[in-house]
């Protein structure tokens, strides 16, 4: 655990207010903030200035559907979800993982805690697996194909690389995993297992191919059993 003294911490207030810290420096600074009112006050002031930079950007009217999505998600969420109890429940938005969302809030407020830190570490390792999938989803050439059975989409690039990005997907039951399938004709071929809400398929998806996801025993299986939790056709 890196700790820093007050003088070293003070220097980090500017980068922190600009969200320009990461890794150990970020964690160390946030730990310092918990106990240092002077640095919190400094950060608050600098944050106001940083937010002024947002006023220097041209506002862009978001797509009209976004408003409905946000209000819909708020409505479904109902009561405030405890921040740490069950990370996956915190945020249903797909690219976001739990601790990241928790971190956003924590960072915004200058709060932090050991348990959040730990969940963030876990999150970071999960993210490594998500990165490739995110690259596919972010590829401007990727087609977005809606899925049925869950909110979210299948993204398929021209070359057939494919990623699933799912909203509202609960974590798989203990001892289970999600497994993706790409159909060759009527035959499902395994395309990788995943537990998160973003998954890179390990098999290319030709145009028109059916894609499905089932719940499988941890480690995955060679042929699917049970009902598909979602499916779509590329």
């Amino acid at each position: 655990m890196t700790t820093i003294d007050h003088e070293a911490a003070r220097e980090l207030a500017g980068p922190y207010a600009l969200d320009a810290l990461d890794g150990d420096a970020l964690r160390a600074f946030e730990r310092h903030l918990e106990g240092c009112g002077e640095c919190r006050a400094e950060v608050d002031e600098l944050r106001e200035a940083a937010a002024a930079l947002a006023a220097g950007v041209e506002p862009v009217e978001p797509p009209p559907a976004l408003r409905g999505r946000i209000l819909g998600e708020a409505r479904r969420g109902g009561d405030v979800v405890p921040l740490r109890r069950k990370p996956v429940a915190i945020s249903r938005s797909l690219l976001t993982a739990t601790a990241a969302a928790a971190a956003v809030v924590a960072v915004g407020l200058g709060i932090w805690s050991g348990s959040l830190s730990r969940s963030l570490d876990r999150e970071r390792s999960a993210r490594a697996a998500e990165r490739s999938a995110l690259a596919v989803a972010a590829d401007p050439s990727a087609r977005r194909v809606p899925v049925s059975g869950a909110r979210g989409a299948l993204y398929v690039t021209r070359s057939g690389r494919a990623a699933l990005a799912l909203v509202d997907l609960d974590p798989p039951p203990d001892g289970k995993t999600y497994e993706a399938w790409v159909f060759e004709g009527e035959t499902p071929r395994p395309a990788g297992t995943f537990d998160g809400r973003v998954a890179l398929l390990t098999r290319r998806v030709p145009a028109g191919a059916k894609v499905a996801v089932t719940v499988a025993p941890a480690g995955g299986v060679a042929s699917p059993t049970g009902r598909a939790v979602l499916q779509t056709q590329a």
Partner: protein, 190 residues
Amino acid sequence: MKRVSADSADEDVLVRAAAGDETALAELYDRFGAVAYGLALRVLRDRALAEDAVQEAFIAVWRQGDRYSPARGSARTWILTLVHRRAVDLVRRQERQPTAVAEPEPSGASGEGGADDAAVVRDERARVQAALAQLPRDQRVALELAYYGGLTQSELAARLGEPVGTIKSRMFHGLRRLRTILAAGEGIAV
């Protein structure tokens, strides 16, 4: 365009949203959605990701709004901080990708608020840009690359070939000076 509670202070609306008032959340979105989306788009240069950043931030406002303390800053700052944090988090993941993400510019669609709102926004932008222009170049570059580009202090140091300590100091002094310049105008913009 101001709607239902046009007269309520942002902070009051945020408190109502935190208490579970959905119309208050809608009102916050109507007030800050375009600024938030513009900011996220500037950082992420990808509309789908920018939408995610905005959605995530507003859901955080909804669920964690009770953590907001008016004593620590304006509601606007708090919300935009959530949006920005989320946007840089996403952009950093993207930038680690081998696949370069293209940079589609927004289609020029701008706010559809009334003419008065548009004028106010233009005025604010002009003020911030003028304030930025008054900063020493080194400080301005550090602020812009960090805030709009999502670069970390280490990335910035590497890109500019300067020690991290120098970068930290430019960020700190740049923000302080920016605040002073803006405050010297007619009330701070935040």
